[in-house]
């Protein structure tokens, strides 16, 4: 150790390194930005522009019309009908997914034999292609041959077959069930991860304080899980808001427009009627609504984080 050999410090490298250390971070962000810009920013801006024109492939028009599309949108009962469905769908499926996901997470958090297997099984719906899920749910809830009707009849829950997708009373609900089935596992996964960040000693402290399982959950775990819950809920809500495949495959928006959502509406306007101007206005309105939803979540989130830290 005593031989003071040539120290590695003698390599000079002044300017180049200084530059790269200043630019480095930004350089590393470039690939992500290029990717997002080319695939997302451009279409978004394009959509914003189109929504201010009367572009239609069929009429071959493409003139700037200002906010006329939005005025039309404002007065369009179909839009508001779809808007209402979408909001309800978003709310109901997010709420249900949160509840079911939370229940799943709480169960799978506990240790028991076979937990790994159940955890994996839980993730199955999430891993299934949506195309398959929608076909499968069409099949399960089929009014005539669906196994759901058959089971409910067998167990005497209903006395005649229910036409799940054919009645405005049940169609949207059934789609919500399908969506909940598919995405509750994802929620459960996030919440499970969140639960594991709650220190065990807090739960033990609460037990020493006399809290029973329910109190521990309500007063300790839930409040501490709140930020995770909100973030996961935000992700889910935004995703639910864009619901498309399920509706499109299962009901096409019917019956009597009772399952029309903003995505299916904008799909129809954009690609069936090829009215890109009006269709873009619909998607921009969606974007705005999503922004509002995100804002509400973020407000709650900020409050939570302020409080719990």
């Amino acid at each position: 150790m005593t031989d003071i050999a040539v120290l590695p410090g003698e390599r000079p490298k002044p300017a180049a390194r200084a530059l790269s250390s200043a630019l480095g971070p930004w350089l590393l962000l470039v690939p992500a930005f290029v990717s997002l810009a080319s695939v997302s920013f451009y279409p978004i801006l394009n959509g914003l522009w189109l929504s201010l024109t009367n572009t239609s492939l069929i009429t071959q028009e493409s003139d700037f019309v200002g906010f006329r599309n939005y005025a039309e949108l404002w007065a369009d009962p179909q839009f508001w009908n779809a808007w209402g469905h979408t909001i309800w769908f978003t709310f109901a499926s997010t709420a249900l997914e949160t509840l079911i996901g939370l229940a799943m997470a709480l169960i799978l958090y506990e240790g028991f034999t076979g937990r790994g297997f159940v955890r994996a099984a839980m993730l199955v719906p999430w891993a299934m292609p949506t195309v398959v899920t929608s076909k499968m749910f069409g099949w399960l809830f089929d009014g005539q041959h669906g196994i759901v009707n058959w089971l409910l009849l067998e167990f005497g829950v209903i006395d005649q077959k229910v036409n799940w997708y054919g009645s405005p009373d049940t169609a949207l609900t059934t789609i919500i069930v399908a969506d909940v089935w598919k995405t509750a596992p994802f929620m459960a996964l996030l919440l499970l991860a969140g639960l594991q960040t709650v220190p065990k000693s807090l739960v033990e402290a609460a037990r020493m304080d006399g809290a029973k399982a329910w109190t521990v959950f309500w007063h300790i775990r839930l409040p501490l899980l709140m930020p995770t819950l909100l973030i996961a809920g935000l992700f889910r809500a935004l995703d639910a808001f864009r619901i498309f495949d399920l509706v499109y495959v299962l009901t096409g928006g019917g019956p009597a427009d009772s399952t029309e959502t903003l995505s299916t509406l904008s799909y129809k306007v954009l690609f069936s009627t090829l009215s890109f101007g009006y269709g873009s206005a619909v998607s921009t309105a969606m974007f705005v609504t999503e922004g509002l939803i995100a804002l509400v979540f973020c407000l709650f989130l900020v409050r939570q984080i302020r409080r719990a830290g």
Partner: protein, 366 residues
């Protein structure tokens, strides 16, 4: 306030036995400290008492009643965790009042109790803060406050000071002792720091590998360790241990042969040993004194000046090293040759199994 009795307490994790039969009585108002090396089962034992770990075998008796199956919250105990385990989403007042709230106490009464406890701990001005807005020592006190408000029969502490820095640790130690006197409570305290054990306990339980090595008051353990484990574990700097050949041994004493042709006769019952066997001589660092003549000679290899004390590490050559605690600011230079003397009556002898040989003609040390 109440006593506690452990009878043959055992704990298995799967096939591994972690607590191997613990018998212990904790009297009312005792301050009992469980001490031992890391992994010896201190926390496990404490958590068994608390009800956070299931008891595999044996009986836990609290206040005369078997409590093995009683729910943690119904045992009338309060626990302070190493990590404090404060609820981050509640204010100090809410943290402290949580147990009472769950117990269904009215808000006004609860506030009064919290206030009283906060006054004891000088936390009154912090009641509206959240844990993250507190310093380490303040958090520590909130954790204790949370225990106090419940007015428990017994307080349990699991290394409550180990997350604090040295200066704060000393302060909190004093505060806890004050609290013990003030509350007249029974306390069980886990630590691996023998200084804490020595200063706080009126009864120390030395644990090792899941069983009790010795139980007694601090000075009892210090003066009469039952075996070499306790001897080296208790006391800082730790007891010097020299493995030396026995020159002569009888009921009245045991004479060691020191390499240099000299000997040292320690007044212990050496009847179990024979000349030629090796025994272990234990000498506390503060009992070694530089002198004109003495049984040990060596040179100062490392010198640690602590201001009020000086610790000398003396190299005896083949026989090993001796640590000497000198008073005040010793001026011995590095490499200086030292002759060390010791009062044989203060020495300890351990046999091959580590058991301490019984002292004869017991004479107390100064």
């Amino acid at each position: 306030m109440a006593g506690l009795t452990l009878r043959g307490l055992r704990k298995n994790y799967g096939a591994v036995e972690v607590i191997k039969g613990i018998d212990l009585d904790v009297a009312d108002r005792d301050f009992v400290v469980f001490v031992g090396p890391s992994g010896c089962g201190k926390s496990t034992l404490l958590r068994m008492i608390a009800g956070l770990e299931k008891i595999t075998a044996g009986d836990l008796v609290i206040d005369g009643q078997r409590a093995n199956e009683v729910d943690p919250s119904d045992r009338g105990l309060a626990m302070v965790f190493q990590s404090y385990a404060l609820y981050p989403h509640m204010t100090v007042a809410e943290n402290m009042g949580f147990a009472l709230k769950i117990g269904g106490m009215a808000a006004a009464e609860r506030a009064a109790k919290v206030k009283a406890a906060a006054d004891v701990l000088q936390l009154a001005h912090l009641l509206d803060r959240r844990p993250k807005e507190l310093s380490g020592g303040q958090r520590q006190r909130v954790a204790i406050g949370r225990a106090i408000v419940r007015n428990p029969k017994v307080f349990l502490f699991d290394e409550p000071l180990s997350n604090l820095d040295a200066a704060l640790r000393v302060n909190m130690r004093l505060e806890l002792m004050r609290l013990h006197q003030q509350l007249k409570a029974t306390m069980i305290y886990v630590t691996h720091d023998q200084t804490e054990a020595m200063t706080m306990a009126n009864k120390i339980v030395v644990l090792n590998g899941g069983h009790i090595e010795q139980v007694g008051s601090p000075m009892e353990l210090y003066r009469n360790p039952a075996n070499s484990f306790v001897a080296t574990f208790i006391g800082s700097p730790k007891m010097n241990m020299l493995d030396l050949p026995v020159e002569a041994a009888d009921r009245q004493g045991l004479r060691f042969a020191l390499g240099n042709g000299r000997g040292l006769t320690v007044p212990v019952d050496g009847s179990g040993l024979r000349p030629g066997e090796t025994a272990r001589l234990g000498i506390r660092p503060e009992h070694l004194k530089p002198a004109a003549a003495g049984p040990f000679t060596g040179e100062a290899a490392i010198i640690e000046h602590l201001g009020g004390l000086t610790i000398l590490h003396v190299d005896l050559g083949r026989a090993g090293m001796l640590v000497v605690q000198a008073e005040g600011d010793d001026r011995t230079g590095l490499g200086a040759r030292l002759v060390l003397d010791v009062d044989p009556a203060l020495c300890h002898v351990f046999d091959a199994t580590g058991r301490a040989l019984r002292r004869v003609a017991v004479r107390e040390a100064a």
